[in-house]
Structures are given as C-alpha cells and as structure tokens.
C-alpha cells in the first residue's frame, strides 16, 4: 500500500512513574475507518491526546502525510488536517449553532483586520462562503432548523452531530472521534454509523475511532487496534480481533 496517512510508532507516554501508553504503534491509510478499543483506562484517550498535540509524547514518532508532527502544539496539528472530538461534548455553548461552525472555519477565512472593519467585498465573499459551507453541513446533519439556537440548548444527540459537523467544516483529512456513540440511543447510533461511512466514502476523510459500542465498531471498521493497560494487544480486521484469545481474555477476564 502507498504511504500511510498517519503512522505512529513506539509511542510512549509517561506521567511520572505511571506508564499510560507503552509502545503503541498504529497506521491509518487514506479512506479507512480504524477503531481503537480496549477496557476503561486502557490509554485510548491518551493516545488520542498524543496524536493531536494535547500531550507531548515521552517517546516515539508520529508521521502525518510523511511529516513528523510529534510534539507540535495542538492548533498546528489541527491545521495540518487532523481534527478530533472529545469524550464529553465540547461545543461553544453560549454561541449559536451557526457561529460554532463559523469559528471552526477561522483559518480558512479572511481574518485581515482592515478588510473586516471596512467590510470589503473580499471579506464578505469569505464570510458568505463560510456560511454556505456551514449551511451545507447543517443540512447534512439535519440541524438546519436549529441554526440560530444556542448550541448548549440542543438535545444531546444533536450536540454530538453538531460536533462532527464542526470538525468537518475545517476540511480535515483525518477525523478522530472519541466515543462518539456514548449516550446515543440505538437509532441515533445507526445514523452515526451511516454518517461515518459517508464521510469516508464521499468526503475523502479517514476516521480514527474510540468506541465501546462493539456492534458499531465491528460493523464499520476496516481495521481495529486493541489496547490494554497502555500496551497494544492485537490488531487486524474485525473478525480476527473478535476471535483473538488475548482480546477475549482482556474483556471477559481470565477463565
């Protein structure tokens, strides 16, 4: 296969004496959906934090499109095309749904102070384009009616959808979702399933997923990485992982 989109190797993260991530390696290719699973406290979110620059990994390399990004600050990594969501919804609650999507497009917009103050045609064009993009995604995640509501007033499932839309308007290459299905009802989970597949198939986005909903994970993932106590346990297609003896042991305990 060609050069992977994201490649992390020998990733280590230590907090004092605690080894949270121990020699984890993973690869994401273009147009793939990859899942990371593991019991609670296994270090999945820590891996996410290392990849997106919220932590500086103690050791290891992270390459994104062939470029070393380990230790870069979060906003720089995001600008290279990796965006993530969080375990807890992190919307701008007192801003409207539409404003949430406009903020996310900050770096694609005309941010010149003078152009904005004098409301030049170029500035208006940039605003209008951002608005168009936001509308497209609102329509896609079925939140168009909510556009002027405060994001904090949306129902939980809507907030989750808005969060994904907010990531997508930044035009990422890799979308990292941290437990996107947590707290969703079965119907909403199914919608999420469709949405994620669509992102891969139509928007040329790879998805890296942390999820506990096994039905969702096994259904959509191209490959799965299993992490247990910070260490990689297994990886491969959903079938091979499901039948892996170590995985069964980690999840169900020693029998």
């Amino acid at each position: 296969m060609s050069q992977p989109l994201l490649e992390a190797s020998d990733l280590n993260m230590r907090f004092g004496g605690l080894v949270a991530v121990d020699n984890v390696a993973l690869r994401v290719h273009s147009d793939e959906i990859i899942s990371i699973i593991g019991p609670n406290g296994a270090g999945k979110t820590t891996v996410f934090n290392c990849l997106t620059g919220f932590y500086k990994p103690t050791a290891g390399t992270i390459r994104f499109k062939g470029e070393d990004i380990a230790g870069l600050p979060g906003h720089k990594i995001s600008r290279k095309g990796i965006v993530r969501t969080f375990q807890h919804v992190r919307l701008f609650k007192d801003m409207t749904v539409l404003e949430n999507l406009l903020v996310a497009q900050h770096r694609h917009m005309n941010t010149s102070l003078l152009a904005g103050l004098f409301n030049t045609p170029g500035f208006r064009r940039s605003e209008a384009m951002a608005l168009d993009k936001a509308m497209q995604w609102l329509e896609r995640v079925n939140l168009l009616d909510m556009a002027n509501r405060n994001a904090g007033n949306l129902a939980y499932g809507q907030q989750r959808r808005l969060e994904i839309a907010r990531c997508m308007v930044t035009r990422p290459d890799l979308l990292m979702l941290d437990e996107p299905a947590a707290g969703l009802n079965p119907k909403e989970t199914e919608e999420l399933d469709n949405l994620i597949c669509e992102l891969r198939d139509h928007h040329k986005v790879s998805v890296l997923l942390i999820e506990h909903d096994m039905q969702l994970v096994m259904g959509i993932s191209d490959r799965i990485y299993v992490i247990n106590q910070g260490r990689p346990l297994a990886s491969g297609t959903p079938e091979s992982v499901q039948n892996h003896p170590d995985v069964i042991k980690a999840y169900l305990g020693e029998t």
Partner: protein, 449 residues
C-alpha cells in the same frame, strides 16, 4: 413610486427642520436683549440647495445604488448577489433601526447646545467611561480574561499624550493615535506572561500590572513629575483652531475669531463633548464590526472552551493577545482624551478603584453586551452625582446596589444578544449551493432521519 416620493419628502423635511434651526436662525444681541433673526441670503440658499440635493438623492436612490452595483460588477469583483443578500441580514441593521440610530446620534449631537455647562461636562465624563467599558468588555466580556489592571492602559494613554506633548509638543490628534498605539503595545507586552494563566491567577497578574504602572508614574519623578502630575496639557483643537480666548501658539487663530463670534468658554466644553461622542461612536462601530469578524467569534469561542478552540486550529496565544491588545488600545484612546479634557493628570487618577469601577460597568451591563455596557456606564457615573446629598453613605448605597443587582440579574442589565442569521428554507431535497457529493447522499439520509 408613491412611497419613494413620501420618503424623499420626509427626508427633505427633516433636513429643513434641522438646518433651519441650526443655520437659518441667528442670535444677535440688540443692546441688552437677544434677538432671533433670520440669517442672510447666502445661508438660506445653501439650505435650499441642500434640501434639493437630499430630495433628489432620496427620490432616485434605487437608480443610484443600481448604477453603483453595476459599476462594481463591471469591475469584476462583485459579490455574487445571492450570497451577498444572505450575508446582509447578519451584518446590517434593519432600516428602522438605522433610522432610529441616526436620530439618536443627531439628538446627542444637538443636545449640548441646549444643555447646561455642568451637564455637558458630566456627559463627557460618562462618554469616557462608556469608552473604557466598551474596551474592557472586549477583554472580560468577550474573551473571558479577567483583567483587574485595565486602568494601567488608561494611564499609559493619558501619560503618552501628556509626555509627548510636554517634550515634543505634539497636538491632541497625533497624541490620540500615539496614546492608542502605545497602550496597545503595553497590552501586547502584558499579554505574554498572561497567556499561560487563567482565571484568578490572571486577575492577580493584571492587578499587579495596573499597580506597577501607577507606582512607576509616581516614582519616575524626573520624567513624569511624580505625584505632582503634569499640568497644562492642551485641549483638542479643530483643524488647528483653538478654543481658548487667545491662541497659545504663534500664528494660530482661536475658534471664535475664525468664525467671527464672541468668545465663550462653553464652546470648549461642547467641543470636548462632541469629540468624546465621536470617539464613542467610532468605538461602537469598530467593536460591532469586530463581533461579526472571525476574530470576534474566536474571542468568544476561547471564552467558552479553549481546548475545543485548540482542536479546531485556533491559536490560543494569538487570540488572547489580540483581545488584550485591542482592548488596551481603546483604554489608550480614552486615556488620551481624559488627559486632554482634564488638562492635568497625576497618578492619583489611575488607582485600582478606577479598574474596579470599569469592571463593575462591564459586569453590571451584561458580559459582552454593548448596549448593556453603555447603559451601565451611564448609571455608574450619573448615580454618584445624583446621590451627592447622601454624602458618605453614597459608596455604601453603591455597594448595596451592586449586591442586589448581582442577586437579581446575575447576567447583567441587558445580556448579550446573539447575531441572528436568516436561514433560507429550500424546497425539500434541493440544495442550491455548489454541488458537492454531499448533496446527493446527504438528502437521502436526511429523509431517513
């Protein structure tokens, strides 16, 4: 056609009403009494020609704007009309609001000519506080950075003008620019250590900064005159026309001589008021634009959730710095004006209580809300004046009022309103925007939901 005609007539009528009072009548003293007389012919012809122009412009407004649009589109950089229409709702006020605003501004400009000197002076002070409140509102209300040393930037602005005038003799308008820029520079400098801190820690650092500035000014006696302050700071001039009885500088003509009217110290007060009003209008305009710009939205987003900001590619440092810098610049402008108005400044004027009052204005008005801030500034400056008879109980009342306010309306007098953007409803399943693969696959999923 009919409405256009009436609109044009109405506009002309307003113009005639205003100009006939302001230009058409003159007061002349005849012995001991004042006589109102109709102005001479040239002025009347000016008024009439003005009325004709306004009438024609209003009547042919559509054609004129059409022509303007055409020239712009022929220049090739026109905004596609469908899109520009949509954005209009976000950035432009409705017609009624604009008219109301124009009348308000016109009223505020005419008011000092009829008001007493004392009230105009008090209004000028209120305008200074409005400007300070609006500036701090950027830092505290929008960006959510608690700044307790805002008065430091106010002092920087005031002393920049005073010192630059003392040593280099620059005039008010240059000083205004210099004061704003220097205060912005100080904001930028302070921004650096502040970036890593949040909440209480930030408040303490900024508090310290405000005090450092004041103590520095107090102790750099050689440069700033220390506690004695700086006096004889010149007032603003109008394109070189001074408002004093005699021109201070060689070759300058005082205002009253230039226009051939009698000297009155009232002109100076009114002029100061108008300058302050102009500054406040400019501030309101700029902040209003900032709110609708990416940077304004980024400030608010940072206040809401800085981690999410980072994950979306916003540089926290840059966003915070810009809020601090721009907020400080407005304090600098206000400070320069304050120095010019007072004619005398000393470190006494820039104590912590000033910071506290400005912060109280922002909190009282409602974080982030511009109208709220203006309202609160008016209350906070007028109330102590009206409550003078209560003497030392004044501050007690003031404190009690704050406590009750926070209990009664913790979100402030007028909480901030979000800009509302009209959403165009499209017929089901048709998306009129650029065709993306989103449209086809998107809609079938939308229907499933």
């Amino acid at each position: 056609m009919k409405t256009r005609f009436f609109n044009a007539i109405a506009a002309t009528f307003v113009l005639l009403l205003l100009t006939s009072m302001l230009l058409g009548l003159t007061l002349e003293s005849n012995g001991t009494e004042l006589v109102i007389q109709v102005a001479e012919g040239t002025r009347l012809s000016w008024i009439i020609s003005g009325a004709v122009i306004v009438f024609l412009f209003q009547f042919f407004r559509n054609e004129i704007s059409q022509g303007w649009q055409n020239t712009r589109s022929s220049m090739g950089n026109a905004v596609p009309t469908s899109i520009s229409e949509k954005v209009k709702t976000t950035s432009q006020l409705s017609g009624l609001k604009t008219t109301a605003l124009c009348f308000l501004v016109a009223g505020l400009m005419i008011w000092p000519f009829f008001a007493s000197r004392g009230s105009v002076d008090l209004a000028t002070l209120t305008l200074i506080y409005i400007m300070l409140g609006l500036g701090l509102n950027i830092v505290v209300g929008l960006a959510g950075l608690l700044d307790l040393g805002y008065v430091g930037f106010y002092a920087v602005g005031a002393y920049s003008y005073a010192l630059l005038n003392m040593y280099f003799g620059i005039d008010f308008w240059t000083g205004l620019l210099a004061g704003g820029l220097l205060a912005a520079f100080f904001g930028f400098i302070l921004g650096f250590p502040v970036l890593r801190l949040r909440g209480d820690y930030l408040a303490i650092v900024t508090l310290g900064f405000g005090e450092i500035i004041r103590i520095l000014l107090n102790n750099l006696t050689d440069l700033t005159g220390g506690p004695n302050g700086i006096s004889q700071i010149p007032k603003p001039d109008l394109f070189g026309l001074e408002f004093s009885r005699r021109a201070k500088e060689e070759g300058n003509v005082p205002f009253h001589e230039f226009f051939g009217i009698d000297y009155s110290s009232g002109y100076k007060v009114i002029f100061l008021y108008l300058v302050a009003l102009l500054l406040v209008i400019a501030t309101v305009f700029v902040i209003n634009r900032l709110l609708r710009m990416p940077i304004g939205r980024a400030w608010e987003a940072l206040r809401e959730d800085d981690i999410a900001c980072q994950s979306l590619g916003l540089n926290k440092t840059a966003v915070k710095l810009s809020a601090f810098t721009i907020g400080a610049a407005f304090a600098g402008f206000a400070g320069t004006f304050f120095a010019a108005r007072q004619g005398f400044i000393s470190p006494e004027s820039f104590t912590f209580i000033e910071s506290a009052i400005i912060l109280a204005i922002v909190v009282l008005g409602g974080m982030g809300s511009q109208i709220g801030t203006v309202l609160a500034a008016i209350i906070m400056t007028l109330l102590p004046e009206f409550a003078r008879e209560f003497n030392e109980y004044r501050m007690l009342m003031f404190g009690l009022m704050m406590v009750f306010m926070m209990g009664w309306r913790p979100q402030g007098l007028l909480p901030m309103k979000r800009p509302h953007i009209e959403v165009e409803r499209k017929p089901q399943g048709v998306v009129s925007m650029q065709s993306d693969n989103l449209t086809t696959s998107g809609n079938q999923l939308v229907r499933e939901v």
